[in-house]
């Protein structure tokens, strides 16, 4: 028995204190929606805060695009208010703040929390037949630790310099020598790190200990596999980042000498002597986390897309085990490829060769996944609804994002395209084109379970169509800019004569980015409208197999009236001889 009243075997026992016990409505509200230990409520909390941050991060991106299309011009409507002193235009320093905060928010407040925090929390216990997470209180803490992080970032943006301006990679000495917002940024990320670590320990324990009887590891849906492997990645990689962040903070506050070398002339005035640090040390520590973080940000989406596509195609997932093995291979290799971010950093060029080889190798399991998804829809009976469309869009975009990675793995070519828009194109195809489109699909797919109503499918398809067009319109031309050498992270690239003719391309990209933002308004209206006025959904609207569809919508605290017995894997669609085209995992054989 754990303190929360569940036995580890998953057998039913006293469900913990129902929320509605207090007669005071305020206490009841706080207990149900704010300080809840229910994994579903925590999942929704993560979902809503991530969606809000997605909006904020997106607006920052639009400001970046504005500057690149119409440099040093007044931003319409909001420019005068935000930059009164500068005549309504973005300053070079604030431009650096923009891309730093865009990346920080999108990575740490949107993609990671929405995948692991929102869907991880909501789906893991429901999909494996558990009543809740193994450690519900720790789960609640993992969400509440996000708020100090939010506070730190907002505070950092309220400082006179309006936020950190050294890029999300925070390379010292720049991040140590200049700017005061650095400490707040670092503190914020430490909170995020602790939150994620608590979450990942919880997920690993839950998956290993609380599966329903019959739910063997190889009967788990790919969503759970993706989240499980992600949790392992986080548990091993995050401590390194957290340690590195603390070192960076100490460097700033106490001049400890981890990263700053001898004889530095900060501002060309005062040489700093005798510190004996090494800037490359930070890069190794940082990328040791931040490369696995790339997989943290895509593996759960891969899992969810696998489930949505198999259900949408009414066909078993093709190559279930190879799919799992390739995820395990990605996570293993993911730990030894970080050096490909450092091919021209000054790191040993012999070391670069070994990182080049491991990076080439990691393309293999990613390729295997794509082939298996194609095998899944081949010969199926595709249902062209919003979740399936977003799933298909995920594959299409992941092919592009994955393939362009080959160029970066090739060290001599990387020397040319690193630090350029080619890199920006590549990781946005993976993070936006794949992960975020996958997340949208997952929202359409699990919305009925979360809120008991359907999202509007027609507007979902419009949302998909516009997003798909504008994602490509925005990010595809960036490949060409990068080939030309067009640099990322520069407030005004047109200072360089060789880049002046690229202005029209950038204006085209910016128009597409505005189109993409407009498409998200459709999603927002659909999402909010469906919460209140959506068509009422039955418990299993997609006729899917996994366990979460066997419980009523907006499942009660404790999830299952009775812990289900699992008889088969989650992908028995169109099983020959079975009377319907799906066969739920917990349906007893005749």
């Amino acid at each position: 028995m754990t303190a929360d009243g569940f036995s580890l075997s998953g057998e039913t026992s006293a469900v913990h204190e129902p929320h509605g016990s207090s007669s005071n409505p305020l206490v009841r509200f706080l207990g149900t929606w704010v300080f809840s230990r229910d994994h579903k409520v925590i999942g929704l909390q993560f979902l809503f805060s991530s969606l809000i941050w997605l909006g904020i991060g997106g607006l920052l991106a639009l400001a970046i695009r504005w500057q690149l299309a119409w440099p040093w011009t007044e931003i319409p409507i909001i420019g005068r208010t935000l930059f009164a002193a500068e005549g309504g235009q973005i300053t070079p320093q604030f431009y650096n703040v923009l891309f730093t905060m865009h990346a920080t928010i999108m990575i740490f407040f949107v993609v990671v929390p929405i995948l692991t925090g929102a869907f991880g929390n909501y789906l893991i216990p429901l999909m494996i037949g558990a009543r809740d997470m193994a450690f519900p209180t720790m789960n609640m803490l993992s969400y509440w630790l996000m708020w100090p992080a939010f506070g730190c970032m907002i505070w950092a943006m309220a400082t006179p310099e309006r936020g950190p301006d050294f890029g999300w990679t925070a390379y010292p000495p720049l991040s140590v020598l200049f700017g005061d917002a650095q400490s707040l940024w670092v503190l914020g990320l430490v909170f995020v790190g602790i939150s994620s670590m608590l979450g990942s320990i919880n997920y690993i324990t839950t998956v290993l200990q609380l599966r329903a009887p019959g739910m063997t590891l190889f009967r788990m849906p790919m969503t759970v596999w993706g989240l499980f492997i992600t949790a392992i990645l986080q548990a091993f990689a995050l401590p390194v980042l957290t340690a590195a962040l603390v070192m960076l903070l100490l460097e700033k506050v106490f001049q400890t000498g981890f990263f700053l070398p001898n004889g530095l002339e900060a501002n060309s005035i005062q040489p700093l002597d005798g510190s004996g640090g090494q800037p490359l040390l930070w890069q190794h520590l940082f990328w040791f986390y931040s490369h696995p973080a790339v997989y943290i940000m895509v593996l759960p989406a891969m899992g969810m897309v696998s489930d949505m596509l198999s259900c949408g195609a009414r066909k078993p997932l093709f190559g279930y085990r190879p799919m799992i093995y390739s995820m395990i291979a990605i996570s293993g290799l993911g730990f030894i490829v970080w050096g490909h971010h450092m091919f021209v950093s000054g790191m040993s060029y012999f070391l670069s060769v070994s990182f080049m080889i491991s990076t080439m190798l990691i393309a293999l399991p990613s390729g295997v996944k794509v082939f298996n998804w194609l095998g899944t829809i081949w010969g199926g009976k595709l249902r062209m609804d919003s979740p399936t469309l977003f799933g298909l869009g995920f594959i299409s975009m992941f092919i592009i994002g994955g393939l362009s990675g080959l160029l970066m793995a090739a060290t001599p070519v990387d020397m040319v395209i690193t630090d350029t828009y080619f890199i920006v194109a590549h990781f946005h195809y993976v993070l936006f084109g794949s992960s975020i489109l996958g997340v949208f699909g997952a929202i359409y797919f699990w919305f009925p379970k979360m809120f008991g109503r359907m999202m509007n499918d027609f507007w979902g398809q419009v949302h998909f169509f516009l997003s798909f067009i504008f994602v490509n319109g925005t990010f595809f031309p960036m490949h060409f800019l990068g080939a030309r050498g067009f640099l990322r992270r520069t407030a005004d690239p047109y200072v360089v004569e060789g880049f002046r003719d690229l202005l029209p391309v950038n204006q085209f990209i910016t128009w597409c980015a505005f189109g993409m933002a407009a498409a998200q308004v459709i999603f927002l209206i659909n999402f909010l409208g469906s919460l209140f006025w959506g068509r009422k959904a039955e418990a299993n609207p997609w006729r899917a197999n996994s366990l979460e569809w066997t419980v009523p919508n907006s499942p009660p605290h404790g999830n299952f009236a009775e812990i289900p017995q699992v008889y088969r894997g989650p992908y028995e669609y169109s099983y020959p001889g079975h009377d319907s085209d799906y066969w739920p995992q917990s349906e007893a054989p005749a």
Binding site: R321, G380, M384
Partner: protein, 272 residues
């Protein structure tokens, strides 16, 4: 509707490949969207690699993209064909297929890994050798490049051919370099990390303070190239650029002889 979506997914590999091909061929309106003109001997090999990898990518991109489009076109309509509902085919896996595509992909990746090694070695591992005092030794740098927020200092080795001597020639934001012969540059930074990027030479090297880096190249023609900093170094990062003037050896020697040595060196000696 499924036909519409089928067309959309077909469009990705088709439109993508056409646009990419036009850009790489330099056809209007996509002219200028490819690797910049190359003035470095080693850059030829890099462009070749770039094209080879694009070829491999194109094959995978088009074949998987068409498969995806075809699946949607063909199997999206299944429930409607002949007014009769057709079921999905039940198949779960094929070890033979998995093995085939894994081995094929692995083969391509191993080929790529090996194929690029020479170019990397040429650019970063094999510094040119010259004969000094009867022994083959690494070629000494022609000039020292010092990066600082937000500009470049160039110290050309004077007529004695050695750096950090009283005859060094100093220029701000302008580097003179002879073409047609291997040139080595020594890179240093005064404050934060910068990056020495010359698009025309297909050359990039981060400059980490506290370290010395060496880059080398063999320029092919007398042009003026832009040097830009490609590592974020602060608010003025976007302004940090310089020019590289490529001249013939004889012009270079004549130019060097005409310059007066950098006075700062004597001052620095005195200070120390």
């Amino acid at each position: 509707m499924y036909r519409f979506w089928g067309l959309l997914f077909f469009a990705v590999p088709i439109v993508g490949t056409i646009v990419y091909a036009l850009a790489m061929l330099g056809v209007a309106p996509f002219a200028g969207l490819r690797l910049p003109a190359n003035y470095n001997q080693a850059g030829v090999e890099i462009a070749h690699l770039y094209n080879v990898i694009h070829g491999i990518m194109a094959v995978v991109f088009v074949s998987t993209g068409l498969l995806l489009g075809w699946s949607v076109w063909r199997f999206g309509g299944r429930q409607l064909s002949g007014g009769q509902e057709l079921g999905a085919r039940y198949f779960t896996h094929s070890n033979l297929l998995e093995l085939t595509w894994s081995v094929a992909a692995a083969g391509i990746l191993v080929f790529l890994s090996l194929y690029q090694l020479n170019s990397w070695a040429e650019n970063k591992l094999e510094r040119p050798l010259v004969e000094i005092a009867g022994r083959m030794q690494p070629q000494p740098p022609l000039a020292k490049v010092v990066a600082k927020r937000f500009g470049w200092e160039f110290y050309h080795a004077g007529p004695d051919g050695r750096l950090d001597t009283p005859d060094d020639v100093y220029l701000e934001n302008l580097l003179h370099v002879p073409f047609g012969e291997p040139v080595v540059l020594q890179l240093e930074s005064r404050d934060v990390i910068h990056s020495f990027f010359v698009p025309g030479l297909r050359l990039k090297q981060d400059i980490v303070p506290g370290m010395q880096h060496f880059v080398w190249f063999k320029a092919t023609s007398p042009v003026e190239l832009e040097i830009i900093c490609s590592e974020l170094c602060g608010w003025g990062h976007y302004t940090m650029q310089a020019r590289m003037q490529l001249v013939s050896r004889s012009d270079y020697d004549r130019w060097l002889a005409e310059q007066s040595p950098w006075k700062g060196f004597a001052a620095k000696e005195e200070q120390e």
